[in-house]
């Protein structure tokens, strides 16, 4: 439980009890609908039995008028009658296209500098959205860096479209949904957008270019939320600003935007020319909309997809290299999202008037409500992504018929970066935008669950609102089940056994930083701030000297919010996590000094423990990272290199609702500039 004032404590306790009891009933196998039909729960989620069970939903005790009780809010979503009845979709792979493809020839073929020629068919906006702001070209900006040194080998097209017939489950109680998503690149209307978007599969040293078209409907056709201005970020490839899809580089309806990637590891134009440091290889990435002020609603609308990158070690073939389970048969991406459905219409809803964060009561995996996946009795690699918008998960494997059975598995990568060697865990905690690659050996699992044949990926993190998780983890079997794995027959398994502790990449060396800078992530007069300032596309807050290294101390001074902090450009490493218990209590609005959070704060590491060399850092976070979650009252010190490219990138909170409310800054990297501001 988070530290709370005495004043609120009783209410907090009652609310928690109500939730816990409801969860227990629901997880026992009842759906909300079943309870309602039995007369034990009202439509608003109120359990009828008395004593601590009466809190209507996991929300604040607001004195809203009665009209607002039918809100798009936790506890109000229509639910399907049954879960685990739909197979988990696996997104199709995006096909590459010849340069002669009409999409790639539209306006002009991809070129080093933006195609700013006016398109008479599109209100004379430039053909391409690159190198513009507010639709006005900025000549000479955003030409591709290293475009001629690393010629494009693979071309792709994606068209961003609306799809009003999207199904999140087969149950007809839940209507077709309007989503915005990415299609497979074809111009035909039958090439519809999906959620998640197609998986893009690349290989290092094979430079690629993606042309994205904005073919969204008009603003007034947004279904209540979403803005049709697009910027697609590849999270977190080592990318120049012009192709990074940052918050300030969006393009309009009818425009296209060419995104070019050198396909080289970090260090390719500095420490490790010409191909980069193999130990900086990334594997599990994702792409998503990043339009400033509107990222939460746009990603929530469906603008998210996986991007996987292989190389000579992480090959996608279990008989070569690191011998990780073969893609795509035994290497499967899973994006988790929680949604709200509007009680009035059954449609996915999003409250654009909220700025604290959104917690859903409908759990999706790869775009389906609580699906199942048939698996064989062998090892699988799952690439688990928290697609947001605001929920934190702690994921366990649970035998629903025997929830107390402890089922271990292996973490092999954090934020898409292979660890030096696999770590055995019983759970992992994943905040928005983080990725965990895990290996589940269903042969081993089967030996633990005996005659049972199903295990489920269960979220046991208790979270009351969008501010952040509590410190409580639900009892086994009482959390939210996300995916059901149905274990079938044994098949050949040539993949490496993580128990043999194979070596993957070594961690890049941590060198003496040129400077240590401090950043405090706080809330001030209802506004999100970093060092007291706000997001501003016109304000590059500080300059990092190109090809140097720095330490950044990221501070969360609050004991009632958590923030997953994402930094673009390169991966960083967490050097320490320091719990500042009590240091900031005077700022929290509560006078009592906290002695301990209790429960599971800070996160104890999922069974793999805390590092002996990096204070407070869980062993599964002794890794390269691109999202560092700031827990309550915490300082996290991260080590960061800034190599190869010049330009501007953001650092921001990836609770997308906080991000949209200005918890973001832009920094730039330039050669021969010395900026010694330690609190920029």
């Amino acid at each position: 439980m988070t530290f709370i004032s005495k004043r609120n404590k009783r209410w907090e306790r009652e609310k928690q009890q109500a939730l816990d009891n409801r969860l227990e009933l629901v997880k026992e196998g009842f759906t909300r609908r079943a309870l309602i039909s039995m007369g034990l729960m009202t439509g608003a989620g109120v359990l009828i039995p008395k004593v601590g069970l009466t809190h209507p939903s996991v929300g604040p005790p607001q004195d809203f008028s009665s009209s607002t009780r039918t809100q798009c809010d936790f506890g109000n979503s229509p639910q399907p009658a049954q879960v685990f009845v739909d197979p988990m979709p696996i997104p199709p792979e995006l096909p590459s296209r010849p340069l002669t493809d009409p999409g790639l020839q539209f306006g002009a073929p991809p070129q080093i500098c933006p195609n700013t020629a006016p398109n008479p068919a599109n209100n004379n906006l430039p053909f391409e959205g690159r190198g513009q702001f507010e639709g006005l070209p900025r000549p000479g900006t955003d030409c591709f860096q290293f475009f001629t040194q690393y010629p494009v080998q693979k071309y792709y097209v994606e068209r961003i479209r609306a799809n009003s017939n999207f199904r999140i489950c087969s149950d007809t109680n839940i209507p077709n949904q309007l989503i915005w998503g990415f299609n497979l690149g074809g111009s035909a209307s039958t090439d519809v957008a999906t959620f998640p978007g197609p998986t893009i599969v690349s290989r290092y040293q094979e430079p690629w270019l993606i042309r994205r078209f904005n073919e969204l409907p008009t603003q007034s056709q947004n279904g209540g939320f979403g803005v049709p201005e697009m910027s697609t970020h590849l999270h977190n490839f080592h990318t120049a600003p012009e192709s990074d899809g940052g918050p300030c580089r969006w393009f309009f309806r009818g425009q296209y935007f060419d995104y070019y990637f050198t396909a080289q590891q970090a260090g390719f134009a500095s420490t490790h020319a010409p191909n980069g440091d193999i130990n900086e290889s990334l594997s599990t990435l994702w792409y998503h909309d990043h339009r400033i002020d509107h990222t939460a609603e746009n990603t929530y609308k469906g603008l998210e997809g996986f991007h996987l990158i292989f190389n000579q070690f992480d090959t996608g073939n279990e008989t070569t290299g690191f011998r990780l389970p073969s893609y795509p048969q035994f290497d499967i991406p899973i994006i988790l999202n929680d949604k709200l459905l509007d009680p009035s219409t059954g449609k996915i809803c999003f409250d654009t008037f909220d700025f604290k964060g959104l917690i859903g009561d409908v759990q999706l995996a790869n775009g389906k409500i609580q699906p199942y996946l048939d698996v064989n009795k062998r090892r699988y690699r799952f690439r688990v992504l928290n697609g947001g918008p605001s929920r934190f998960y702690e994921l366990f494997l649970t035998d629903p018929l025997s929830p107390s059975t402890v089922i271990p598995f292996w973490v092999i990568a954090n934020d898409g970066n292979l660890l030096p060697t696999p770590k055995q865990v019983t759970s992992f905690r994943i905040s928005v935008a983080e990725r965990y690659d895990i290996i589940i050996d269903f042969n081993q699992v089967k030996s633990l669950i005996g005659s049972h044949t199903k295990v489920r990926l269960e979220n046991r993190m208790i979270q009351d609102d969008g501010q952040g998780p509590t410190c409580d983890v639900a009892a086994p079997g009482t959390g939210i089940y996300c995916v059901e794995f149905r274990i079938g027959s044994a098949v050949t398994d040539n993949s490496v056994n993580p128990a043999t502790q194979p070596s993957f990449y070594t961690l890049p060396s941590v060198i003496t930083p040129r400077i240590t800078r401090h950043f405090e992530f706080d809330r001030d007069n209802g506004q999100w701030v970093i060092n007291g300032e706000f997001a501003d596309c016109g304000d590059l807050r500080f300059t990092v000297t190109q090809n140097t290294a720095e330490n950044w101390v990221l501070t969360n001074p609050r004991d009632d919010w958590q923030h997953p902090i994402h930094i673009h450009l390169e991966e960083h490493q967490i050097l320490s996590r320091v719990d500042n218990n009590g240091r900031y209590d005077s700022r929290s609005g509560d006078s009592r000094t906290r002695t301990s959070f209790g429960g599971n704060c800070p996160w104890p590491g999922g069974g793999a423990g805390i590092s002996t060399t990096r204070p407070g850092v869980p062993n599964v976070e002794v890794s390269r990272k691109d999202v560092t979650t700031l827990q309550f009252d915490e300082d996290a010190t991260v080590f960061f290199r800034f190599r190869d490219f010049r330009g501007d990138w953001p650092m921001h909170c990836h609770n997308t609702v906080h991000e949209d409310h200005a918890m973001m800054l832009l920094f730039q990297v330039q050669p021969n500039v010395i900026d010694n501001n330690t609190e920029p």
Partner: protein, 252 residues
């Protein structure tokens, strides 16, 4: 807090008949719940209501407010419907953040080059309706050179409006601090169901840019010849707006 088990809960619940019933059923149904069964009959009474109307019902109450010129206006009908709006909360005695933000908005008004009161409407709503009478707001506006509409009203209406617009904290203590609601400004184009926020403490140039982007971006592109019609400004100007004060002379 210790997680309660169902057993503990049953004890706590006084083992009412209903609770026992649930427990028994739960035990029996647990296995079945995992099996696929045909979707049951449609049980939800969905209505064909537009997203715009849902937002109006939930967030844009039609409460009666009073301008600094003592005119009675309806929040939704007169101030929001079919308009591009910028909404902000303040109070006249505010010494903390409001003066800075009002000062910023005065600069933003100038940066928007005559659009405020014409196709973009600014509203400052008091958080202290008990204290802030129309004349106080008029004085505040004059003092700051703010040429837009300031609003007060019945305390319960203002509270309802504030919470409907999303300006509230979960912790009562934080919620009671008026300064906590004075920072963020809202930017909306009501007929296009497009809403955004910008910190009022940002640089005026950036606030003006955000407002311009919010208001103008929907009209920029077209796909297959389909462009967003400018529905926001196609309706006639409301009577009330003709009385918006011009910026005070000393601010030129």
């Amino acid at each position: 807090m210790a997680k309660i088990t169902r057993r503990k809960w049953l004890v706590a619940a006084g083992t009412t008949t209903a609770a026992v019933g649930v427990a028994t059923l739960a035990g029996k149904t647990r296995l079945k719940a995992q099996e696929a069964t045909p979707a049951s009959k449609h049980n939800y009474n969905y209505k064909n209501v537009s997203p715009r109307e849902l937002i109006q019902r939930r967030h844009l109450p039609n409460v009666e407010l009073i301008t600094q010129d003592s005119e009675k206006v309806r929040f939704y009908d007169d101030l929001i419907k079919d308009k591009r709006v910028v909404i902000q909360f303040m109070f006249a005695q505010c010494k903390d953040v409001c003066p800075i933000i009002t000062h910023n908005l005065v600069k933003v008004q100038r940066l928007l080059k005559g659009r405020v009161g014409k196709d973009i409407f600014f509203y400052s709503i008091t958080l202290s309706p008990e204290e802030d009478k129309p004349k106080d707001l008029k004085e505040f506006a004059k003092h700051h050179g703010a040429g837009w509409t300031f609003l007060t009203g019945k305390p319960e209406d203002i509270l309802h409006l504030r919470k409907s617009l999303g300006f509230f904290y979960n912790k009562p203590k934080e919620d009671a601090d008026r300064n906590n609601h004075s920072g963020m400004i809202m930017i909306g184009t009501e007929p296009l169901t497009r809403w955004a926020h910008c910190p009022g403490g940002s640089k005026p140039e950036w606030i003006a840019t955000v407002i311009r982007m919010e208001m103008d971006a929907p009209l920029k592109g077209s796909v297959n010849g389909v462009t967003q019609p400018d529905v926001a400004f196609s309706t006639k100007r409301p009577v009330k707006e003709s009385k918006q004060a011009m910026p005070a002379g000393h601010m030129h």
